[in-house]
């Protein structure tokens, strides 16, 4: 030992050669650096806020806002509190996001599938649409839609009425776009949005339920921690569900009625609930039919008939029970009835849908391309025509590749909806900016806004992950 000690490195030199030392030292340095940076910034913030005489807190949210919101579904008035203004902004944002995501998916999948069409013209149109829209900034497109297209619509006196003057289903003028719609009150609409939200949130509970029920959690400390975590998630979601479904505006500091209260207060609202509930027997029947077809080798006729009957009933409810109203053109050029979309909302949704749709089209195209050519050929060899081959064989397999990037595209749409500010639509971001300008409280407003966007994105992301689990390869 002593003889070789001249070659051995001892003391601090040995420490310097030890990888573990460097790993710990590096992390300590990082922590110290971050702590110093944050405390420096925080002390500056404190000093700056003390100088301007603002102390941190959210109590200002109870003060009257005093500004009007152009369009709102929450019967907001200027003398209401800031917290109500912000909730109105959130509902407005959700309105854009939900409609935008649905329409962008439709546009994107259509364009993506069209790029595989054997019609050269359709293929070219799809490619040109994607190449054009993706390479132009979204904000520019929004401004174009708003100022050049929707603002350029004719005066109400000679508005565009589709399909014909006598049969007015859609009217376009620079006062707004009128669409046929069920005769819902604002409360019913809000209730419907809340019900969708409640379903999305409720979906998250399933994962925790499954994890608890499956019994795959180990009986050690970590397993119990996971169990407690899952129970906590379920309890939290139950509380949120209570607010979304049963809260009453007067008691709960919230300015909307819970979905159940709102929907069950009118006949049409009840029909919405019935429609949404009918999804359950449809899903069960569909599963049963698949089971009968695949496992038992039956024709699945009974189930198909059941499905058709349910679909007809649903369609009847949709058409007749919701009290559809088409816009009516008055002598003066004005329009009554139907759903009025403001120019701001129309421009925002149109711009977002076409922009995001182009990205989704590329995702769908890449997904379909990822399915090996043999699958196409096999499907054709079985006698399926190209439409059926796409629908039954290729597209389901492509979904595995499509859904993860689709998730981030949906989140992008949600985040991009904050560009509403540029076209003057009062979404969450624009309401928050006004609140900040009036109160001079950037930190609090920013925290509220950031928290809301994070929650919305989390909601989208978790739900898409569940969908992703459904379409993944089930491997043994």
């Amino acid at each position: 030992m002593t003889r070789t000690s001249s070659k051995r490195i001892t003391g601090w030199r040995a420490l310097l050669r030890d990888a573990r030392f460097w790993q710990i030292a590096f992390q300590v340095i990082v922590v110290i650096g971050v702590v110093i940076a944050f405390s420096y910034l925080a002390s500056n913030l404190q000093r700056n806020m003390a100088r301007s005489g603002i102390d941190f807190g959210f109590s200002f949210l109870q003060n009257p806002a005093g500004f009007a919101i152009g369009e709102t579904m929450l019967s907001y008035r200027a003398q209401d509190a800031y917290s109500k203004a912000i909730q109105a902004g959130i509902v407005n944002s959700l309105r854009v996001m939900i409609v935008g995501i649905v329409l962008a998916t439709v546009v994107g999948v259509t364009a993506g599938v069209a790029s595989f069409s054997d019609n050269w013209l359709l293929y070219k149109i799809s490619r040109i649409y994607v190449g054009l829209v993706r390479n132009i900034p979204l904000l520019l497109q929004l401004l174009f839609w708003y100022l050049a297209v929707f603002f350029g619509l004719p005066q109400p006196a000679n508005q565009i009425v589709l399909p014909t003057q006598g049969l007015s289903w859609v009217t376009l003028s620079n006062r707004g776009v009128y669409l046929p719609s069920p005769a819902f009150t604002a409360e019913t609409w809000t209730g419907a949005i809340l019900l969708i939200l409640a379903l999305l949130v409720g979906g998250l509970m399933l994962r925790s339920f499954n994890a608890l029920r499956s019994g795959s959690l180990p009986p050690d400390l970590g397993g119990w921690a996971a169990r407690i975590g899952h129970v906590a998630v379920i309890l939290l979601i139950l509380v949120i569900e209570y607010f979304l479904l049963f809260s009453n505006s007067a008691e709960d500091q919230l300015f909307f009625k819970g979905a159940v209260l709102a929907l069950f207060s009118s006949a049409r609202g009840i029909w919405i609930v019935v429609l949404m509930l009918s999804a359950i027997p449809i899903a069960l029947l569909f599963k049963w039919r698949n089971y009968a077809l695949v496992e038992q080798g039956e024709t699945g006729r009974k189930q198909t008939i059941g499905l058709v009957i349910l679909a007809v009933v649903d369609l009847a409810i949709l058409l007749f029970a919701l009290g559809w109203k088409t816009p009516e053109v008055l002598e003066s050029g004005g329009v009554t009835g139907g759903l009025r979309l403001t120019l701001e909302y129309s421009a925002l949704v149109t711009g977002l849908v076409f922009y995001t749709g182009a990205f989704i089209a590329e995702i769908v195209r890449a997904g379909i391309q990822s399915v090996s050519k043999g699958q196409w050929e096999a499907a054709r060899a079985l006698g399926l025509n190209s439409g059926k081959a796409m629908r039954l064989v290729v597209f389901p397999q492509a979904l595995r590749v499509i859904i993860p990037p689709l998730n981030s595209e949906f989140m992008n749409l949600a985040k991009n909806s904050s560009l509403a500010l540029a076209v003057g639509y009062p979404d969450l971001y624009s309401v928050a900016t006004t609140t900040f300008n009036q109160t001079g409280r950037p930190i609090e407003v920013f925290v509220v806004m950031m928290g809301t966007f994070l929650v919305i994105n989390l909601l989208i992301s978790l739900n898409m992950n569940q969908l992703n689990n459904l379409v993944q390869f089930k491997e043994r």
């Binding site: 590096f26 500056n44 700056n48 050269w120 132009i136 979204l138 520019l140 920013f446």
Partner: protein, 468 residues
């Protein structure tokens, strides 16, 4: 298929002799549904094209564009400083031409028929388009400069090897030269001088260490010490020397509030891209790190930033950065904008790079480690080059969206290309000319974004050494 050639030597694939008629039948009218679709589409496209052409040549009032070209390009940049903008363009064009020549040094002739036709077309457009016609002589001279520099670059590239590396240093240096040309002011207070001082000092220190260590045998520690001595001494001399001399040398100052238009957009985009790449790379490495604290911080950064809209981060940059700094320090608006853009883009870039890193099999790392490379060397020599190659399309995609995102700075008050367009369109004499103005800048954005996509595709094919 049906004809089997009697001569086995004839192995060429049968040539697809398609007449236009068979092509049309095959691609447009191959069944009833497609035929109907084609007819409907032709009618719709025909009507749309007719409307578009009529609008371009009759309906549209292009005065809003042709009268304001200089505003679109440079914003409110002072008129008597336009020569500096032209000089900047000249430098970029010359460097680009030279680079083109060096890259194409192994081609027989740089100017193939297609390139020549492209050049001729560009010259023709410059002379014919109303927006470029007033500056046609200068633009054509620049085109000639590009061609001349390309020829020069080809000759130089053939003569000197390793010019590529020096060229990238040239681009790097040109950024600061251009920045100085843009801003002007006292040379001694400029970024250009600062970077120049550091470069000169580093060279001096390195030379000192290299020269002195030739004489006796010095250890690494002493060498580093010598380098530091040389560096600091030169730096101090340059710094104090320049102030002691007391001569104020420099161009006229152009305040940042005068920067605008396409010029500002490009400045923001290039600076943002240059800054977000290293930050994003570090964050991606941090997220893949074995060290829990580093990984946790990286994840927190990436996920927080990716969860909020860009506009709110820019808002934070404009409103909240001053709040977090000591009293009185208020960075320039453009600096704050670039900080916001960089923070946002680097989080997305980190995810793109991480995807690339994940695609590299573990065996690569293990092989590198078994060769005795430590972690930084394994990363920089083995893993990153492969990972970045995989990630090129995603990274360029992120750069493109950063370029597009500069438009959002128009909302927070910078007059970049979209911002200046907004203020031009607010001019009552161009009332309602929205479509014209937006169409013009949309074309500009489209050209830049498409060029980036095209470049990334070329880079991808040239780096793809798997299936050659």
């Amino acid at each position: 298929m049906t004809t089997i050639s009697s001569r086995p030597a004839d192995t060429k694939p049968p040539q697809n002799q398609t007449s236009p008629l068979t092509w049309v039948r095959k691609n447009l009218f191959n069944n009833i549904f497609n035929s109907i679709l084609t007819i409907v589409l032709v009618i719709i496209i025909g009507l749309a094209l007719r409307g578009l052409v009529l609008w371009i040549f009759q309906g549209a009032e292009w005065a809003v564009v042709t009268n304001n070209v200089s505003l679109f390009m440079t914003g409110l940049y002072p008129r008597d400083l336009y020569w500096r903008a032209w000089l900047m363009l000249g430098i970029v064009v010359a460097l680009a031409g030279f680079t083109w020549g060096v890259v194409g040094r192994n081609l027989g002739s740089l100017f193939s028929r297609n390139v020549l036709m492209g050049l001729a077309l560009a010259a023709l457009l410059i002379m014919l388009l109303p927006i470029t016609r007033p500056n046609a002589p200068r633009l054509i001279a620049y085109e000639a400069l590009t061609v001349a520099m390309a020829w020069l670059g080809q000759q130089a590239g053939r003569k000197f090897s390793g010019l590529g590396m020096k060229l990238s240093i040239g681009w790097f240096a040109s950024y600061f030269v251009l920045l100085y040309l843009l801003a002007g002011g006292d040379v001694r207070a400029s970024v250009l001088y600062f970077v120049g001082m550091i470069a000169v000092s580093a060279i001096a220190g390195w030379q000192l260490a290299a020269r002195v260590s030739l004489l006796p045998k010095l250890g690494l520690f002493e060498k580093i010490l010598l380098f530091l001595v040389g560096f600091i001494a030169t730096y101090l001399v340059l710094w104090y020397g320049s102030w002691l001399l007391g001569v104020e040398v420099g161009l006229d100052r152009a305040s940042t509030s005068k920067w605008g238009g396409l010029m500002l957009t490009l400045l923001l985009a290039i600076t943002g891209i240059a800054l977000c790449f290293p930050v994003g790379l570090l964050m991606a490495l941090g997220r893949r790190s074995q060290l829990p604290i580093v990984r946790g911080l990286s994840i927190a950064y990436i996920e927080l930033i990716r969860g909020v809209p860009l506009i709110s981060i820019l808002f934070m940059g404009q409103v909240m950065i001053p709040l977090f700094l000591p009293e009185g320090t208020r960075p320039d608006r453009i600096v704050r904008a670039i900080v916001g853009l960089t923070i946002f883009s680097s989080a997305y870039l980190a995810e793109n790079v991480r995807a690339g890193l994940q695609s590299i099999p573990r065996g690569q790392t293990e092989a590198a480690q078994s060769l005795g490379l430590n972690t930084p060397l394994t990363m920089s020599l083995i893993v990153l080059p492969q990972a970045l190659k995989v990630a090129i399309p995603a990274i360029v995609g992120q750069f493109i969206s950063l370029f597009q995102d500069t438009t959002l700075l128009g909302i927070v008050g910078l007059v970049e290309l979209l911002g200046i367009t907004q203020s031009i369109l607010a001019n009552p004499s161009y009332l309602g000319d929205y479509a014209e103005g937006y169409a013009f800048i949309a074309a500009i954005y489209w050209v830049f974004c498409y060029a980036m996509t095209y470049g990334s595709r070329r880079l991808e094919t040239s780096l793809n050494n798997e299936l050659r």
